[in-house]
Symmetry: C2
Subunit: 455 residues, 2 copies
């Protein structure tokens, strides 16, 4: 049990009204979107208003050895933001100010609770662009994106969150507020601590401010190229052909027949009539590259293809990708995979996923950032069927092992959280885990930051 | 003094003939190109042939608490590879095999001693490109480039070494050979240890293999745009105008009149007749962007400008940049700066550098990766003039402080090594240094890796 002294220390750290201990309110904030991951019981939810209050909360927790689980919008898919027993939930979504957008230096400084799409909109007003675009961009926060090194659709050409984070302000395990990284385009003064915090999922400290690099907003709308294929393997061939042809699309997404049907059943869009598998491509260079991408699709055996310059039509086609996950969730609990394999092995990995679906008697739908080799098999089971749930979990782990066997990784962009801990151990091996534990102990000596996550 | 037992352990770690204790041979390998940085006396030079031998050497050193100073080609400019007293110099330039160039995955796996230009050539044979291009690329090694997070001319558009390192094999402070990072395009399984080793200057472990991402080789030769300006400030205005116009050159280099005259005195090229300051730009997109870049130069007050499609002429103009450093070295010892400031503050920083030259009565020439805000003031003093040397060192430190005061960094790409230790402390502050020390102690518990460098 928590002593009164901790609650007093916590109360002293933030103004009145920022601490919530109501069971329902805490429960509503005790997990992210990884429905299959366990969540513990927090002791309090705290909503600080500024970095100094975050620092004071962390200092109180460090002194009393109380776990700190930081959360943004709670859109994670690995359980990284799930409460652990007795923790303080540190909700930063209220720290949502865009502090600066500097046109000349092409950078922005934001509080961690700024929503991804809000930053993109603020940048666009100045002709600038923040590329990382996770599917959660309408809701997820930059702090959470940085903590998980979020990816997205345009990564295939423009990279992931880590490629845009220049610097950060963080609260350390010593309870201090420090700045790591930089504002300049280049810099090698000391270790890349900002890069280390990116993707550390709240286990090394609390991010209280992020400085991101921005690009110029691309001119004109992208060209959309869509191909329909008879099989996953044929679509996989088209992806490989695209890479071999030296084409760099700004998106190359795969959606399979399970997803198409689920979207059709929900929205009656007739997507499944187009073919068994869709490849959705975007090109933000010239018409030539768009034509070359379509030619790759056709030569790989597309049963149908189109090239659209109409924004509305393009949006409708890409909605197949966007709606797939919610459409599948209507059918039952979804267990989301996030493996990434060498691009040339996408067809092989897709074939193995199909085999696992058969072997474990579960439905596995596939969406994928195909151009990156980042696959999102979605395992769907009937609501309330515990036996199917067990089979789904077995298939989930088998897919992770196959990704590792193919030279890939158990998580391309969602993070380790709770769901990928066994898979990550299998991928990294004991020696590399030892390095992780050493770094964790060095930066979080009290062991308070998101304990039990990642390692 | 070293016990016989250590030398026996060292002898057991590598085959006969790989250990050198001759004083002249050791002295020849005891420093990098930072002539002004101190170097200690090594106890042995070891030239391992493979990662396992490196591991065995490190294990012997860890057991006997003998410092390990790793070196590639020794082209560093901060003293990072300089010997410390009683160290083993671990020379990896002989481990120079390109293990793999994978066209489909667009990556290469190389031993640390592979020379940058050799990797570029091997990639080019497959239509691929390794962008990071430090001025030392004909000699410097990928291991050294990774250890220092080397930059170069094309960073302004294509990023630095960190942006291309996917994974590594390293020997840890526990004397183990481990793999960190990945081969896939994306991956977030655990902390970004590969990124942490990049730029750690040999203080956290020994890099025994590097996996780098490659791009497609750009089509056709780049367009070269050169402008001459009456003053550093006018050239600085042109740089700011380029950024404001949304132009992304693949190189934007500044060379001042001191450098132009030094090159002329050596090679009789007539460069100084073109103007006081040259801006050398490259564009690897269309003719439109080249025209826009030239327009920026002209509108900012260029006294002369040209746009060349002739490879030979372009090469001659860019040689002003390449030859500047050796030309200045002919005039006396050169102390090389490497500050990086926000791009908009380049004119201000150049003005402050001029003021410091005057105040300290030293010659300061300037070359700069102007598009990045990364300036290389070169302080030249007469050979053997100790008093001038003292003034140069005072100017050097004053310039570092000004870079920090302008929100910049003391090192954009050369690294901290020995020369920037005070500057880095001023830049990062005690709290952030504490984090550095904690990480160093965690990954190098015996304290054997390049002690006294960075921290």
């Amino acid at each position: 049990m928590l002593g009164v002294s901790f609650l007093e220390a916590l109360a002293a750290a933030v103004p009145p009204g920022r601490i919530f201990r109501d069971a329902d309110i805490m429960a509503a904030h005790a997990r992210d979107q990884a429905a299959w991951a366990p969540a513990g019981r927090p002791v309090a939810l705290v909503r600080p208003q500024n970095p100094e209050q975050v620092r004071a909360v962390v200092a109180a927790c460090a002194e009393h050895r109380v776990p700190v689980v930081t959360r943004g919008a709670g859109t994670g898919l690995s359980g990284g933001a799930n409460a652990v027993d007795g923790c303080v939930l540190l909700a930063l979504d209220g720290m949502d100010r865009i502090l600066e957008v500097d046109e000349a230096e092409q950078l922005a400084v934001v509080q961690p609770g700024v929503v991804n799409d809000h930053l993109r909109a603020a940048a666009a007003e100045r002709g600038l662009w923040y590329p990382p675009d996770p599917a959660s961009s309408p809701w997820s926060t930059i702090g959470g994106n940085a903590a998980t090194n979020a990816g997205g659709v345009c990564c295939v050409k423009y990279g992931v969150t880590r490629d845009y984070v220049l610097g950060m302000q963080v609260v350390t395990g010593m309870g201090e507020l420090v700045r790591v990284g930089r504002r300049t385009r280049k810099g090698v003064a000391g270790y890349d601590l900002a890069g280390l915090f990116v993707g550390s999922e709240g286990t090394l400290g609390v991010i209280t401010e992020v400085t991101v690099r921005l690009l110029r907003l691309p001119e004109g709308p992208p060209k959309t190229v869509v191909g329909a294929f008879g099989s996953l393997v044929a679509a996989g061939r088209a992806v490989a052909a695209t890479a071999a042809a030296g084409i760099t699309p700004s998106a190359l997404e795969l959606v399979d027949r399970y997803c198409l049907r689920a979207v059709d059943d929900w929205k009656n869009m007739g997507l499944a009539d187009l073919g068994n598998v869709l490849l959705l491509g975007r090109v933000d260079t010239g018409d030539e590259e768009a034509a070359a991408l379509r030619a790759c699709f056709d030569e790989a055996g597309a049963t149908w293809s189109t090239r659209s310059t109409d924004a509305e039509e393009a949006e409708a086609l890409f909605s197949a990708r966007r709606l797939a996950y919610p459409a599948l969730e209507r059918l039952g609990p979804v267990l989301t995979e996030d493996v990434c394999v060498p691009r040339g092995l996408v067809p092989e990995m897709l074939a193995r996923i199909e085999a696992h679906a058969k072997a474990h008697a579960v439905h596995i739908a596939n969406i994928a950032h195909a151009g990156d080799g980042n696959l999102h098999p979605l395992i769907v089971v009937p609501e309330g069927d515990d036996e199917a749930r067990g089979r789904a979990q077995a298939a989930f782990e088998a897919i992770l092992d196959d990704a590792v066997a193919l030279g890939g990784t158990v998580t391309g962009e969602h993070g380790v959280g709770l769901l990928k801990k066994r898979g990550m151990r299998a991928e990294l091996g004991e020696d590399v885990l030892t390095l992780h534990r050493a770094i964790k102990a060095a930066l979080d000596p009290a062991g308070i930051f998101n304990p039990g996550k990642i390692i």
